[in-house]
């Protein structure tokens, strides 16, 4: 509860959390707010914002940009959350293994992680989605595959430092099993950086998804923010709103996630918080 209080003391983080809830609400209520498919024509093409009953204008086929953004929120949040969950799972498993076991295992896992961190992740993501044909599954998988390495590194560092901590040694001297030590002594104390990383990773996953769909690698059946911007790109001289508004949607969502992440980080690490307050 002290954690919540410290979090709430952070104005940026509170605003971020509120914005995030708003985006979530829009995503959930999209079918209520905009009945019918976002792919259907809703009015004349290239209607500027505010005209023909379309708040944010329409695109070259007369589709409602606002509806597209609302439905796009579902894809962005879903891809962000699921790919982060997978990345965290992979990262925690590998990082924990490397950090707890050390030695040869650590060496092998870290080389593997370094390799994934060296190769240009976005190019790999493009390649993966392109070869396995764009779909929500291949997108989530590709994003997860390129975003676990930082998680693994952080978890490894945490495990490595916690494993040397005396309370973990004490648990070992008490005769606890390694699995029990990892689950009850190490992991709970490594949780805060993992949670912070999860929120920051969700933000970058959303950016990554929008970049992929901007390049035409989105799921062809699902409306997404990157796709909206991509389709507005060639007509930016006549219909600026087609690219501007979805971009703003991405911006505020990603910003909100970053703010929440920083708030969490400060709330969970009081030593750094002091510095921010000065």
């Amino acid at each position: 509860m002290a954690l919540l209080r410290r979090f709430l003391r952070h104005p940026g983080a509170v605003v971020g959390a509120a914005v995030l809830l708003l985006v979530l609400a829009v995503a959930i209520l999209a079918p209520v707010l905009f009945p019918g498919s976002p792919w259907d024509m809703a009015g004349p093409p290239f209607a500027p914002p505010g005209e023909d009953g379309m708040l944010l204008g329409s695109d070259s086929l007369g589709r409602n940009v606002a509806a597209g953004i609302a439905y796009g929120a579902r894809v962005s949040l879903l891809v962000g959350a699921v790919s982060t969950a997978v990345a965290i799972l992979i990262g925690v498993a590998l990082g924990a293994l490397a950090g707890y076991l050390g030695g040869v295992v650590d060496d092998a896992v870290m080389r593997f992680t370094e390799f994934f961190q060296t190769i240009p992740s976005f190019v790999l993501a493009i390649l993966l989605v392109a070869i396995f044909t764009p779909s929500i599954t291949s997108i989530v998988a590709a994003i997860a595959i390129v975003s676990w390495p930082p998680v693994a590194r952080v978890v490894r560092a945490e495990f490595l430092s916690l494993r040397g901590r005396e309370f973990v040694q004490a648990a070992e001297v008490l005769g606890k099993r390694p699995m029990a030590i990892v689950l009850t002594d190490i992991l709970p104390n490594a949780l805060s950086p993992i949670i912070v990383l999860a929120s920051l990773n969700t933000a970058s996953a959303i950016l990554l998804e929008s970049s992929l769909s901007f390049l035409g690698l989105g799921d062809p059946n699902l409306m997404s923010w990157g796709f909206l911007i991509g389709s507005g790109r060639s007509v930016i001289r006549i219909a600026w709103w087609m690219s501007v508004f979805p971009g703003i949607a991405i911006f505020i969502t990603v910003l909100a996630l970053n703010l929440v992440g920083e708030g969490l980080s400060d709330a969970m690490n009081p030593r750094l918080r002091k510095r921010g307050a000065k």
């Binding site: 240009p120 976005f122 190019v123 070869i131 390049l215 971009g247 000065k278």
Partner: protein, 325 residues
Amino acid sequence: MSRLPGFLLRRALKSVVVILAIVVCNFLLIHAAPGDPAMVMAGQSGSADPQYMEQLRRQFGLDRPLIEQLWIYLKGVLHLDLGFSHRQQVGVAQLILDRLPATLLLTGMAFAIAISGGVTLGALAARRVGTWADSVITVIALAFYATPLFWVGLMLVLLFSVHLEWLPSFGMTDPGLNQEGFALWLDVAKHLVLPAVTLGLFYLAVYARLTRATMLEVADQDFVKTARAKGVPEGRVLRAHVLRNALLPVITFAGIQAGQLVGGSILVETVFAWPGIGRLAFEALLARDYQVLMGVFFITSVMVVLFNLLTDLLYALIDPRVEMA
């Protein structure tokens, strides 16, 4: 200085291993993909041409055991044979080599903007921590950190090309003019501004945040207090003691981020029709020309590995403790 050669040799060997691993990775991708590997390599463009498919099967020994195929593939890559783009009727290596200078120019410029601007702003914010200058820099950095690259590009086009008509938004040179010498350079420079700034801004934000954070951390360390205790003026404390130590993590991070920078260039080159390998990748994507895509993946990876080698060297020159690592 005798410690450097051994250290660099180790790093160079490691780079070779990484590059080999990337080749294997490419190879596995071809085979992991759904469908006939020849089809994957040919892409949709080639699949209609049975003769070409047959040629691919022969060339890569697709009827032989997997390990032998890997060997054939490896040999090919080591001879810089990255395959053949059926669509463009040119070797992939040639295709990429033609486009490489444009990408190097763009990413190099963007990196220069990012590192110089980022370190300067970060140092400024750290020095004025808690003041309005710090807040403004922190907020701007956070904002650019949260904005998709391609959208920043589009917004800059909207503002500087469509609205103000100050800068060109498309290509690397003006196709209507046939320029030479200085005029050509000037034209390229004008075309370079928007894409380089677009690509640079995001990383500028990253480096600014990092520099600020590490400088604040270093400022708390004992040796900084020592410097103050011996009467070193504040400006020199920050430059010679704090900033110098804070740059180490920034260099490490720049190495790690190099791959992202190259990836980002695909988006920027797409937005600005910059004729580099990023744009090539996008074209290959549209044409489902996977041989080209894998070639781009390979070449960009090599670029990143080389860049990492460079940052290792720089790190070793700055930090005397390197041999201990």
